[in-house]
Amino acid sequence: MNPSNLSGYWFPPGSAARTPARLELDRRHFTLHRDGMAALEGDGCQLIVSDRIGNIARTLILPDHSVFETRDNDTVDTWLQHTSHRDRTSQHRHQLESRWRWILAALLVTVVLGFVTVSQGMPWASERIARALPPALNETIAARTLETMDELMLQPTRLTQAKQDELTRRFEQKLLPLQHEPFRYRLHFRHYPQVPNAFALPSGDIVVTDALVKLVRNPEELDAVLLHEIGHVVNRHGLRQVLQTSFMTVALIMVTGDVTILQDWGLALPVFLLQSHYSRRFETEADQFAFERMLEAGIDPGHFAGIIGRMTRTELADPARNDVQNTRRQQRERSLEYLRSHPATDRRMKKALEYSRRFRAGQAE
């Protein structure tokens, strides 16, 4: 092997005094030539060579702790390959980083792994942790939420006390025994003009609007909605959302290595899309919970389809109508689903009807 020649700067130990220098390397020895100074010689294996990263300057520390710095990375690498130098093996990360084939593979694996982590890993871990934490923690998340909502948007209910008592009795006697989690469930009635809705707080407080009570055609329909809300509580969706958000934040900082990224408005849209995705999963999970408990309690899950259809003014595709109209209706129903917090209603209704068929088959036997 011919001796390699490197040009660069030489620094005395710990000093900023910069001297142009040339380092001559052969298989065993190094010789350092500096302007106006005696040549320095030594064993090449005693040089400490820094790892290569991209094309940043390489430092070679001499046995006397003085430093030779060069930008001629390729020559250093070639020389290392031809020696038994111990730093020869510490360069493989750069070799990985310079192979486009590896980069392509890494990109592919990262995208797949990242996708699996975000779509499966984080929800899974959040669920495990949320279930391991005490139920009391769920209450702290929702502390004062209902009071704040009462002040800002909800009005006192206009239902009669008798009606409220009747509904509460059914809730406590028929629905609560269907689950065995130590939450303190409370049913609240509120007036919110013209919006038939129900929602659950992580603490076990479930709020039903007067409009919903008016909209239901039989007690079973309200049962369906309330079981869906109990499903949110039992599955700890509030706590899991907090955990998923924290995981996302940590992962983001780890991937970018940059805390200030969180101030970036560019993140708002992707984060919003991901949150909606998680939210839709929670809804599906709560639906599932409701369907199963309805089967258990002998309530036809078809009632869920009925009430949710009326709540959202959705009609299922009608086989009697022509196909173009049906397709257009379904397209409209499902378009932009990724922006929404709830899955498309027709999907949820169809699922309920599937369970309903199973229910009826069970009854027929």
Partner: protein, 406 residues
Amino acid sequence: MPQGDNPPAGTRPATTRHGFEFTGSGSEYFRIWITNILLTLLTLGIYSAWAKVRTRRYFYGNTLLDGSSFEYHARPLAILKGRVIAVALLLLYVGLSRFFPLAGLAALLIMLLFLPWVIWKSLRFTAHASSYRNVRFSFDGTLGQAYKYFFWIPGSILLGTGLLASGLWLMHPALAPPLAAGLLLGALLLTYLLYPWFQRLFTGFYLDYHRYGQGHFQSQLETGEYYVIYLLTLIFGMLITAGAGLLLVLVIQLLGQAGLLEGLRTLEQPDLERELPPLLTLLGVILLYLPVLALSSWLRSYFKASLRNHVYSSTRLDNVLRLHSDMEAGRLFLIYLSNTVLVLLSLGLAYPWARIRLAHYSARSTSAIIQGTLDGYVTRQQVQVSALGEELGDAFDVDVDMGLSL
């Protein structure tokens, strides 16, 4: 020896101006970045310490001043140690608060008490791990000073108000609730008003106790300048918000007249039947999102550029080197905005290019005026020892953001 070189009496050493230069490239950093991410994922986060060092080394090594680059020397294991401790503390906290909610709260307060220590450790760690032209930086501030700046000064207002409130409560128990509320409001207002001054103090502490070899950095930050920058940012922010609000009202009115508002309702209540074609709705979302993005980016650019220019331009190293920064808010804004759009459209894959562009621009707008030469600087003995041997005690590495990062 170079440090003995005194210029002959009567002649001033030559003054030269050197621009900072950044030589990294997007495709190079992309390859480092993707490798880092994959290895971090595969090792369940453990590799992140190595990834961090590699990234830092890449950015330091590509930042050049007068033909020499900066270097980062931290050992990944030291960083990993700090991270393991942090995770252990987090688990301890979660475990404690599970069984003893009050103990969890106490643990949180204790951790808050340790925060200045963590900041101090990190400042020292990062400074000692950095070098330029073979000479290490260091941070000389004491632990006592860290507590002064990061605990007592910002905390004194709250502590004072608390004492005052309890004193009043002892004297007039009946008056306590409204008084306490008023005092709290006053304390918050005071903290808000003093915030620019706090920032100036933090940054001053940060700069004045950094050293290059045996040299000292000195800053001449102006509290007035800080207030001007914060105030203008606030005013611009309010003007922009008001303008955007007005525009929004106008647009909604126009849309309402055109009968297109039914479509917007569906965004709030997604399950109502939609009247507007989906593409138009999407367009509407984008049209709402882009101005918010642009305006917030502009405000951020203005704030960052002005603060950076002031801080850099009032910093010097002994009588040898003066820094100068002439970043333009408009240019920075264009970079921020195009970066965001690029990263969004590429689903995050353009992030390395975005970061490299920012590094290019911040280097290009920074320069150093050197009087004489830097040849006389040498790494201080104690720093050299700690750099070669053990790290300084147990290293803690947290990124301390002095509001200067872009």
